[in-house]
């Protein structure tokens, strides 16, 4: 077999390479979710937001965090870009669709709804960033982060939107978690597959639930 000498980045242009990027950024973003959730749970401390504000202050000033923030932004951009590319590619690979396609017979609902869940989560992300990140960091809001949060979560519409988005995030994670490990070539036997699927289900349940508890807590407090 004749050797092909690939350039250093040629792998990025293959479908498998793009998938690896998707998975790597996916895992990175999932790790961010864990950190983010840990911080958010400080909101539940009944200290009038002192701990949470300190945490927010640290996150917006620490130089290391600032670098990670740029990476995080890049991670989102790459993840979204590859996703859009795959949509384009999928269309091209099957120009004539089936008249009857019973995908529910061979796939689970989470993998079938990845695109929908991606769109909802993306919309959520934009609204979420506008509400907190842009407001606090770019527009220099006079309110503390804690105050911003409380105000937002006491709004039933915003909270409902937040909780609903978490359901979609759960869907996205339910497939995304397993898929990332599969793509990184880590699932080499059925035993690992079972373990990863189980861990993925737990992750997809616990993390969005953790996020959703916070607005619900504030909302219920107003009642």
């Amino acid at each position: 077999m004749e050797a092909v000498s690939p350039s250093a980045t040629s792998w990025l242009h293959t479908s498998v390479g793009r998938k690896v990027v998707m998975a790597a950024t996916g895992i990175f973003l999932m790790s961010f979710l864990v950190v983010h959730l840990a911080g958010n749970l400080l909101l539940l401390r009944s200290d009038g937001g002192a701990a949470f504000n300190a945490y927010a202050e640290f996150m917006s000033t620490n130089p290391l965090i600032r670098v990670l923030e740029i990476l995080l932004f890049l991670g989102f951009v790459l993840h979204i870009y590859q996703g859009l590319y795959f949509i384009f590619r999928e269309r091209a690979a099957r120009p004539i669709r089936y008249s009857l396609n019973r995908a529910e017979a061979n796939t689970n609902i989470f993998s079938r709804t990845m695109r929908l869940s991606a769109i909802v989560v993306l919309v959520f992300l934009i609204v979420h960033l506008r509400h907190f990140f842009v407001e606090h960091r770019l527009l220099g809001s006079p309110y503390t982060m804690y105050e911003l949060c409380v105000a937002a979560f006491e709004n039933p519409y915003y909270s409902a939107f937040y909780v609903l988005s978490m359901v979609f995030l759960a869907f996205h994670l339910a497939h995304g978690f397993y898929s990332s490990f599969q793509t990184l070539g880590l699932i080499l036997n059925r035993r690992i597959e079972r373990a990863v699927r189980w861990a993925g289900a737990a992750f997809a349940f616990v993390i969005p639930l953790g996020f959703a508890i916070i607005p619900l807590y504030f909302l219920l407090r107003t009642l």
Partner: protein, 252 residues
């Protein structure tokens, strides 16, 4: 048994296609799906009509020729089976059955339900082999291979090349097909020298043919008549990452 068949008819690659409806009656529940189509075709011929073209050959599930998209699934309503091994007893008497060709850009329709699957052969051409000439092999037992490894390699080597993985995949990806061959050869000691080149070249060809990407939905493995497991895809991913992102120890 009787059925209403909604079948995709298309004169040739250029012509536009459409569905046509046929009634068949007196079908034995023990007839295979293809034998049911034989009955329809015999009648169409006698009526002076154009019979439905479909691919088939061995009719025992190993040659990989047959491939119909039946009622929304590759090779019909049962998992892990070929169309020729699908029996009419699995359909409800009096029901309507929709039959379409496997659809993917790299699988252009030749006529009716017959598609061109040569793209799969071109993927194999890029490295789905071990470069050994006849006459140059050592004694067969000179290379012991642990039984579990040989068994796993066998599981991947049983691909019949029918293309159901592509047909079932929402992205029309040929990953399971390509991965089966990559995984088969990557596991064996004989496959080591070309391991890195093989995965690079085969993936490159897979993309060049216009197959979609893999999004790990697992539809392929559910429909695969050879029961190639999804671990094949993990193996390909691993091979790919190793080939591209880690230094090649054999390069000077």
């Amino acid at each position: 048994m009787r059925f209403t068949l909604r079948i995709w008819r298309q004169k040739n690659a250029q012509a536009p296609g459409h569905f046509e409806t046929y009634e068949v009656d007196g079908i034995s529940p023990d007839a295979s799906f293809l034998e049911m189509l034989d009955v329809l075709n015999e009648r169409l011929i006698k009526e002076g009509k154009d019979p439905v073209a479909f691919d088939h050959d061995c009719r025992e599930g190993i040659c990989g020729s047959c491939g119909l998209f039946i009622n929304g699934r590759a090779h019909g309503p049962l998992p892990n089976i070929t169309t020729c091994r699908l029996y009419m007893r699995h359909f409800e008497d009096g029901s309507t059955i929709t039959v379409e060709p496997f659809r993917a850009k790299p699988f252009p329709v030749i006529k009716d339900l017959v598609v061109d699957r040569s793209a799969l052969d071109r993927i194999i051409q890029k490295g789905g082999y071990i470069s050994v000439n006849a006459g140059s092999a050592p004694d067969a037992n000179a290379i012991p291979i642990p039984k579990p490894v040989a068994d796993r390699a066998f599981d991947y080597a049983t691909c019949i090349g029918c293309g159901a993985c592509v047909a079932a995949c929402k992205n029309a990806s040929a990953m399971l097909f390509t991965a089966a061959k990559v995984a088969h050869l990557a596991l064996l000691p004989q496959g080591q020298p070309e391991r890195r080149q093989r995965v690079r070249r085969m993936v490159q060809q897979m993309d060049a043919e216009g197959f979609g990407h893999c999004s790990n939905t697992g539809a392929c493995a559910v429909e695969c008549p050879a029961k190639i497991p999804l671990t094949a895809i993990a193996q390909l991913q691993r091979e790919f990452i190793r080939a591209h992102l880690t230094p090649d120890p054999y390069l000077r």
